[in-house]
Symmetry: D2
Subunit: 320 residues, 4 copies
Amino acid sequence: MTLPLPDVQASSPDIKINLTRVGVNNVKKLVEVARPNGKRPVILISEFYIYVDLPSDIKGANLSRNFEAMYEVLEEALNMPIYEVEELCSEVARRVLQLHEYASTAEVGMKCEYMLKRRTPVMKISCQEPATIFAEAKAFRTDNNDVRIKKTIGAEIVGITTCPCAQELMRDKATEELTKRGVAKEDLVTFLDAVPLATHNQRGRGILSLEVKDDIKLPLGRIISIIEQSMSAKTYEILKRPDEAEVVATAHKKPMFVEDCVRAMAKRVVESFNELPDDSIVSIKQINEESIHQHDAVAERIASIGDLRRELKESDAGVA
Amino acid sequence: MTLPLPDVQASSPDIKINLTRVGVNNVKKLVEVARPNGKRPVILISEFYIYVDLPSDIKGANLSRNFEAMYEVLEEALNMPIYEVEELCSEVARRVLQLHEYASTAEVGMKCEYMLKRRTPVMKISCQEPATIFAEAKAFRTDNNDVRIKKTIGAEIVGITTCPCAQELMRDKATEELTKRGVAKEDLVTFLDAVPLATHNQRGRGILSLEVKDDIKLPLGRIISIIEQSMSAKTYEILKRPDEAEVVATAHKKPMFVEDCVRAMAKRVVESFNELPDDSIVSIKQINEESIHQHDAVAERIASIGDLRRELKESDAGVA
Amino acid sequence: MTLPLPDVQASSPDIKINLTRVGVNNVKKLVEVARPNGKRPVILISEFYIYVDLPSDIKGANLSRNFEAMYEVLEEALNMPIYEVEELCSEVARRVLQLHEYASTAEVGMKCEYMLKRRTPVMKISCQEPATIFAEAKAFRTDNNDVRIKKTIGAEIVGITTCPCAQELMRDKATEELTKRGVAKEDLVTFLDAVPLATHNQRGRGILSLEVKDDIKLPLGRIISIIEQSMSAKTYEILKRPDEAEVVATAHKKPMFVEDCVRAMAKRVVESFNELPDDSIVSIKQINEESIHQHDAVAERIASIGDLRRELKESDAGVA
Amino acid sequence: MTLPLPDVQASSPDIKINLTRVGVNNVKKLVEVARPNGKRPVILISEFYIYVDLPSDIKGANLSRNFEAMYEVLEEALNMPIYEVEELCSEVARRVLQLHEYASTAEVGMKCEYMLKRRTPVMKISCQEPATIFAEAKAFRTDNNDVRIKKTIGAEIVGITTCPCAQELMRDKATEELTKRGVAKEDLVTFLDAVPLATHNQRGRGILSLEVKDDIKLPLGRIISIIEQSMSAKTYEILKRPDEAEVVATAHKKPMFVEDCVRAMAKRVVESFNELPDDSIVSIKQINEESIHQHDAVAERIASIGDLRRELKESDAGVA
């Protein structure tokens, strides 16, 4: 039963202006995620957006006609493992562009919650830590009607950050107080060296993503690992006393500003992604939910990996 | 121009079942808030809900007819000072009940962001700290067609909490480490007494509200002050170095679990609201956004102030 | 390596006041969900809270000691099918109470997104619709140190609601306009009968949950089905033109206030859950995100199923 | 009392990498907003972000030192009327750049809720409608150590959108059904012309902002008015029956896709902002919270006003 129904979208609009993007946002789909070691796959609920551009002479993007096809792609793609969610976006973007013959670009993005497995540092208790992963693909129609794709993959991970500035202030306070109480300078040095001093600390959120051409592999695991290492310490859902002591000590021995976290991520990206071409784009952000303030502290760097490489080389040269 | 339009709401429904509440939520209104010392009033955007119950034989609560009246009340009430937002809710609830002659109860609630003024502890820099205040009134029609009202007023304030458990663990670790390094026991005691030891700390949120009969005054300022005092330290939007050192030291000298915060608030309510009758209801909650975990720690007590008084008296007697 | 670490939580607090609940909120865990017809299970990320009450003479709920056990229960329980998520909460609540020998109640709740499968009404295209499911269990220690449990299971589903009042107003307008244009009364009747008239319509959210004793089964599928049927029409992620026409027509032939939705759910619960004892608690809520307003319309009924049965019986008797 | 405290931020970092932006987000401040006709000003709670870039050789942006100054600017600026919130951001950005002598750019943004006054179309009842307004300023240090500023101001307004496609489908259905019932073709035309046919409709959100050089005035009122006119109808907090009928009829006589809304805004911007230079940037977005779907429909255009002018001119020429 296919009625000859009116196709309002295909008609010509009164106001002939191009649109940068038209589509759907907030689309939720089940995405199957492979797990290592023969474990059953996790099927996560992911949130998608799918856009195309629209030329000035078409009234509507006819999403009602093409949606079906978009979802077929998602359906087919359900067997891709998680470390390839950006492939899923690329594939959808490619097909969407084929279906919208009038469009010159397609953008497809997804994000979902993901569970990291960790063992606590001392007791080695296994626990799950929520993280967010996201991916995006932009498909461009080339002059010879081919399709060129840029893809992005990234993650957002929560960790602990301890403030270096307040810790120095507490060192000052401690020195003053202990000197007043007649502690010998030598003992003071021993003390301040042995005991991690108090400072404010808080939940920090590290966000790192990489944008490359379609044919380059981007291992999500490496991205997650870089973020995890670039804060003062990791979070754990369960911490028995020996573990809690260890995590607090670790965090206080490695105090970091938001600026430090971003720079640490930048350095690790350069070291870890040696294979990426210079024009790959790196986006790095750190947000600290300051415990002493109600606002957040933020630092960000967006650059080509080529620029980061050059800056690091100059930095090393300067140090030598 | 008043058309004789159909009144669907007033008709009889097919399914004759009573409704506990019918109304509107998420209604935003400007509410004028007086400020002390002749300062110009702040006009805050507040969010309201307004409900009535509905007997089984009426199809719809006819909100379209009565809304106007509800808003008139809000309009009139705009000149009430902030420490009387619960009066505003009472007045709206009373009138709403008058207008809905078929209803036996009306519930009106509001919440809004509010700005606290603080001075930093050392430099005395003036700053603004956001807080949330909320109020509610429930009006009941009595047998002789009078109206009885219960009203609630409360606040939610962000502060710093430092963990007592982790701090004890760090004391242990420090003792062990310093002993290993040959520090004399006497010096050790001096050290640990003089220097506030590290621990994890985080944003905490204290929430306190009181429910009383209509004729009792509930000073919002006292509620806010109790919450502020019942965490390890206050937040400040701007902290220059001497202030930052002071806040971090203060917080570390007063470590508190979520349980401690709730109990501290309970004690202060009993001490501060001596005039309240025993059947006044006290709701206390503390939520800590744990820096070492991704989940929150929560403690709560809901009780009559009479029960809290009795428990405190027994506690004091036990101590003696 | 088990250090003899200090146990701050077990010490006696300065302020000896009972706490209604102490625990953790916002805990995210993977929960495995069985799917019918031999399909691979979906593993969803669910959000939990776990609370116990705390007597006045214990400082902290020692969540750090007992957490491990809580998670073991969740781990074991991972093989329960989704229509038994309330069993999972019951089991956790029971064990948590065993572990906290000082506690008299335990509360465990979970909620997660869930995907409903639907076929569009005309083209029978398969699509996924997100829904929220939630469950809760409260365990009480009885006098003979046994445990009594009350459990709740529910769902929140989005659907379309069309306004009956505005549709009647449009009928009035249409009658006036067509009469003015000289349309015969007979033709007018034909027209108004044949064509679903315009009205405002919007996203509605139906929420239904049931609370029963531990030994009663509560099929989630039936709860979901009741909510789905009690709005003007269902949503579909993909609607080709014949389907879109059908959905819009269906929704406009069954206009419903928030009050109507709640009453329809109440009636269906009574009809569908014949086996439940009279003291089972039914919570029903409908929220309409009004397209003509920026606020929401809300209706709610909370009652024992016994009360709903009596009201419906009286209603039927009155009609007869 | 100025202690000689350590200045960790001013030290040289280990990893010498430039940062695109460092600063604070989620800063809440009271901002005073003038109201016409001698009414008392509204003081709204606004949310700010303030960033600077950071060269590779400085460890931290020393927000603790400069924050004070930032707030002084906000304090001074509190007397600016709302139609100049973008001036406030410009002024803060300029001063922040002066204070951070190492920085080459500063970015300051704010957003807040704002209340629009409206009268209902028939009964002329006065009501308040919440809207969101936002502004941003980017300050760049020029070669001769001057400062160049680009500023943005915009608004997000909720309105009603009705779907043109579904309405055509309903016209088809109506034609079919009425023909089947033997209605004469002539009467059919009369019917379908006189009565606005049903369609799905929903909350839409129109977002429009303009970016210009510092010396150009951007009247916020005009921006708000363009968004309001570019949806099917406006929302009202209170609608008595004659008003409700009018709003529903109006909305159904002007069905609009998300694409139509964006194009309507684009056309009105060109017509209304004749004075803007061609390189002013226009950002237009429409989001419809589809009642028949759980996802949102989105359309967007970002372009220079020069491009929009050219496209409209070509469009007009084509029509001629």
